[in-house]
Symmetry: C2
Subunit: 169 residues, 2 copies
């Protein structure tokens, strides 16, 4: 009788490493990157924070939405405030931290408008107080210039991490 000897698994091809690059993008996404979370924030920033409105406008299943809302409230991104006692009814509103995610939504929307739609059939236009349609641009807070890919360089701070990955094992 013969057994298939278990040939020690390849050492190079392992599962997802348990310590990926430490990064605030990853951390932020762990909080608001789940399906629907950013759409909740969109609606809430539009002033539209009641449960059934969220269900309708986002198109999310009610139970999932309830889970997301709990998480966003716990994270301090939303607050749940009563807009009526007897009958008790609630409304979700962005906290300061939540409002500070709006720039993310705006740049994302601008990208979608530019790359996902042909012509000018934008489903929503944002007007700036200056009187013009808002075309959001990301700039350097110091010099004020628009940020371009070739004008920035990343410097990882965590030990063992370079821009190219962990220092050669």
């Amino acid at each position: 009788m013969s057994w298939k000897i278990k040939p020690s698994p390849r050492l190079g091809a392992m599962a997802a490493t348990k310590d990926p690059r430490p990064c605030s993008i990853a951390d932020a996404l762990a909080l608001v990157g789940e399906k629907y979370s950013l759409l909740v924030l969109r609606e809430v920033c539009l002033g539209n924070g009641r449960f059934d409105q969220l269900v309708r406008n986002i198109g999310a299943p009610r139970d999932i939405l309830a889970t997301r809302l709990r998480r966003l409230v716990d994270a301090g991104i939303l607050t749940r405030c009563a807009y009526s006692e007897r009958p008790q009814r609630f409304e979700y509103r962005p906290t300061r931290a939540g409002l500070e995610l709006e720039p993310v939504l705006m740049t994302l929307m601008a990208w979608g408008d530019r790359h996902l739609r042909k012509d000018d059939d934008r489903p929503m236009v944002i007007e700036h107080i200056c009187g013009n349609e808002l075309l959001p641009v990301v700039t350097c807070s110091v010099c004020g210039d628009e940020v371009r890919h070739e004008d920035v360089s990343a410097h990882p701070q965590a030990p063992g991490w370079t821009v190219a990955g962990p220092t050669a094992a």
Copy 2:
């Protein structure tokens, strides 16, 4: 014998509506909002586009990563180019459209740095060509002012949609 009469289901409390608010944020997220997709973009923008590097630096399961890469390539956000024939080896690189998502990553990172970390233990610092650390700010491309929540107003274009949801049914 008695049957439980099926009491026609409530009309008010239905499942997720099949036509949520039309919105480029939603469309963009449908493309790049799945788990890991934006982290792929992060690595690829860092110039780090080989499969095994992505696995290590992102911490994603290999099969999921393969699926995401296919999707991003199909969407025209990444390209898969050979960096060596014999043996064939590939590398993923951002297209123009992919690079234009960098502002989203930057604002997200800045938010994470500000709200998810106490003190200044940022895992990564970005330097702008002007010589300073980059603190990205979203501004109005016309007037140049920083965009603040209270300075913008949204105008949905789709018929039947106001900022507050579908026109009263």
